[in-house]
Structure formats: C-alpha cells, structure tokens
Amino acid sequence: TNKERMLLVFTEWVKLLQRVPSDDVKVAVFISQMIEKGVLSETNNVIEFTKAALELSVGSFKESDPTSEVFTATDAFSKLIVNLLVLQDFSEVDRSSYFKLIFSVITFVFSEDQGKTENTFNERPYFRLFSSLLCDWEDISSHNFVKVEDQRCRAQLVEFNKEFYRVIASFLHAYQPIAFPGFSFAWITLISHRMFLPKMLKLPEKAGWSQLVLLFTDLLKFMAQYTKKQDVPDAVSVVYKGALRVFLAVANDAPEFLVENHYELLNNLPHVYMQLRNVVLSAFPKHVSIPNPYNPKLSIDTVKICDQPPNVFYDPVHDLKTLKKPVDNYLRIPSASLSRTISSNVFRSEYEKDNGIGFDTVSVDVKLINAIVLHVGIEAALEKQRTTANAVFNVKSSYYTLLADLLNDGTTEVRFHVVQAIANQLRYPNAHTQWFNYVLKNFFNSEEWGENKTEIQEIIVRTLLERIVTNKPHCWGIIVTFTDLLKSTECSLMDLPFVKDVPEVELIIKHL
C-alpha cells in the first residue's frame, strides 16, 4: 500500500541518520530523491507521510525498551521536517503553509491518540518531537542560517525564521492544558523550552510577545479555573510551582517582558496567587537603579527616574469598550454626566465566581476597571510630559477626579477593585508609580468621601498590606506608598478604628 511504501522510505531515513552525520551530503541526496520520486509530490502525500511517520515514531517509542534509545524515530522525523523546510523549493507553495500543514497533521494524530488512549496517553514522544524540532531548527538557523550556502535560499529562511516560531506558538496555544489536560506538563515544559522561550522573548520588534502573553494567559487561566481556595489538587499545585519557576526565570532574563505586559498578565492571574502577582509586578528593566525603598528619608518626588513612563506593550484603551469615548471625553472636559456614565457601566451582567481573598464572586468587570485605571495613568503621564507636573499632580485634574468619582459613586466592591488596579501600578520607580502614589495618598487623606472615608481608607490599607505580608519580592512602589502612609502626619494608621479592631493587623503595622 501507499502507506507501507512511505513507511519504508521513512525507515530508510531513520537508518541513514544513524550512519552519517546530519550535514553529510547523503542526507541532502536522500531528500532530493524523495522529492524527485514524488514521495511528497501532493498535499495528500504530505499528509499521509506525516501521519505514517508520526504513528511509527510514537509506536516505536511505546514498544522500545525504556532503558534504550526510545526516541530514534521521533528524532529522525524532526530532522526530516527541518530538512524539508530548508531544502525544498518553495516557489509554488509558501513555507509557512507547508509547515502549518505538517503541524496540522501532527495535531490530528496527537488528538486521535489522546482520544483513544485517554488516561494511558503518553505525552513524551510528542514532547520529544516538538523539542527536537526546536533544537534542530536552532542548529540550522544559528548565525542567520550561515550553514545554508545558497544565498537566495538563505535570505528566504532568514525571512521565514520568525514565522517558524510563530507557527509553533500558535499550535501550542491549541494544545493548552484546558484542551488537552493529558499533555499539560509537557506543554508547560515546551512553552519554557530553552530553544523556544528565549527565542520568542528576543524576536526582533517583540514579534513573539503577543503570542507569549497568550500562552502565559492559557497557563494562568488553567490555574485560575482549578485553584480552589482550600483543597488545591496536588497536580495543580505542581503546575503552580512550575509556573512560578518559569516566571522567576523570565523575571531574571527578560524583566522588560513582565514590565510591559503586566496589565494583560494580571488580568488573568488569580487573586489568591499573591506572591506570583508580586513577582510579575516587582520586575524592573535591567539597567534601572532602584533607590532603597526602606530609606526613611526617601521622597518619591525626588527620584529622577520617575520622569520616565514605563512602556506598555498592549494598550489598555482596546479594552475600554463602550467607555472609551466617555473616558477620553471626561479627561478632556470633565462632566458629572460622563462620570455617571463611567461609574454605572463598570458592572458585569452576571455574577462570576472568583477566587479572591475575602470574596468568592465578582459582579464588576474587573478587566474594564483595570483598563480604565491604567489608561488614565498612561494619559496622566503623557500630560505631565506635554505640559507640567502640576497639571496632573492636582486633585482637581480630570485624571484624578475620574478615579475619585469611581470611588465616590461606587459600591464597596467597585472601590476595592479600583484600589487594587491602582496598586497594580505601584511598581518600580517610574512616572506611573509616582502618579498613582500621589493619587492613593490623597485618596487616603481626602475629606471628600464623607461617611465612606473609613471604608475607603480600610480598603487602601488592606490592599497595600496584603502585598507586604507576603514573602518577597515586594514592589518598590507599594513599600514607598505604605511608608508614606505610616509617616503621614495627617492621619496616624494606628489610630484608625479598623486597625485597632484587628489586633493582629495592629501588631503588624506597629512592627512596620
């Protein structure tokens, strides 16, 4: 049968690779003959061959003695794919479509295998295939494909390179844990693979960032969905540990990724993961020197780097939905009616369950609130650069009053999420941290809340405190803001009724 003939060709390929080095001319000759003889002449043949080769590789893994080389066929298949991408003439079909076709077939076989074997599904040969693909591609692509002699081909491959990773990223999104829980641990290992993650982080013009955010979001959503407050399933707890370690590695190597994507990442980070939230928010760009936040003489307004607004990769304005116009109009010319429109449209249409500290459901659109707060902060920092600091460090500025109105008109729940969103911007010294520090301090001391003052103060103290009582890291902006409140002559934290009511908290604050 056709399938048998293809398996024969693939087996010959496997044997060849064991006998000669992969850059031997015989390897190229083999590929050339495969093409000449029409083994892969049509789409159907490509599909059938891919299916056969993968099924044989997976089968051979399952049947091999576990102490021997179990991935021989899988590794050979990986090398075949890379050779096909490099050596073929792509004048009629483009490389990207060809690659996607192969990957689609792999996905089909994978998904069938998963469906058939369910709990006995073994992710390892599929993991190995993707891992080896990444390694083999790295080998051929290093130094701008210098190993490829044909200059025209080389130029095409250089052009194609980022597409290679983007295709893999898009398929990884399809393989996410919620879709294929039996592949979860392999998946997390793949998104953090040494030949994938650093590459995606460093693609020119941040070309890999959107997809990385999507993949991290897939991970966070999975964890969010299945992290119960009590009784976290062991496997989910292991997932969390792995995720934490990956985020720490990213914070070390590419903190700017976390800095610029904090908004999107936090939108999907379960509230209960307080330490992980701090890991994301305490990232700061390399080469930025951070003054000691515990220095009692520190004044945020004298920190020079607070002139710089942080980069924000994804503009939250895209998430403002119907409130974009009202918000932007309000910032230009504040009005009570615009403010009312904004305040009344931050609610969800139905309750959603949430894992919060102290709450189980959410009736406000938290993502929308986060978007509003960050957008206002971005605009305030821009305004400061365009005009003067006084334009925004001013309790009468529209930037300030928009947020103040949200608190004034909002329910307790709204107030909480607005303050949380503000706290999310108290990060390393930058223009946003400085402005939101100003906002929060003024909110704390303001007399405009009337009988709601105590509640708002308590929410502010709770929000800051919860980010300090965790194990490190702690955000610079949170420490500085909390210190400012502690030093405040206008209001002593220790005298506040809600602090006195909770002796444990009183003790902590006294200690701080």
Partner: protein, 47 residues
C-alpha cells in the same frame, strides 16, 4: 471543580512529565572516537 476525567488525565500527565533528558538535543549519529575495549571495572562506566 475539575471533572474527574480531566483530573485523571492531568495526573497521568504529571506521571509522564518529560524531564531534562527528554529535552536534550537529539544526536542520532554517534561518531566513534575509538573502539570498545574492556577497561577496569573501577573506571567510570557512564560518560
């Protein structure tokens, strides 16, 4: 709550979790530097 089937697949994935050996660079062709030779049992027997 995680459906039982999903939980069991997740567990199975945990059990089969790929390790650093699975993620290592593939080398199908091994260039033999020298022939096999019976060496002392005290020598290390793994590279």
């Amino acid at each position: 709550t995680m459906p039982a089937e999903m939980a069991s697949q997740l567990e199975s994935s945990l059990l089969n979790c790929p390790d650093s050996l699975d993620a290592d660079t593939p080398h199908l062709y091994h260039n033999v530097l020298s022939l096999p030779h019976p060496t002392s049992i005290f020598f290390p027997n793994e590279p």
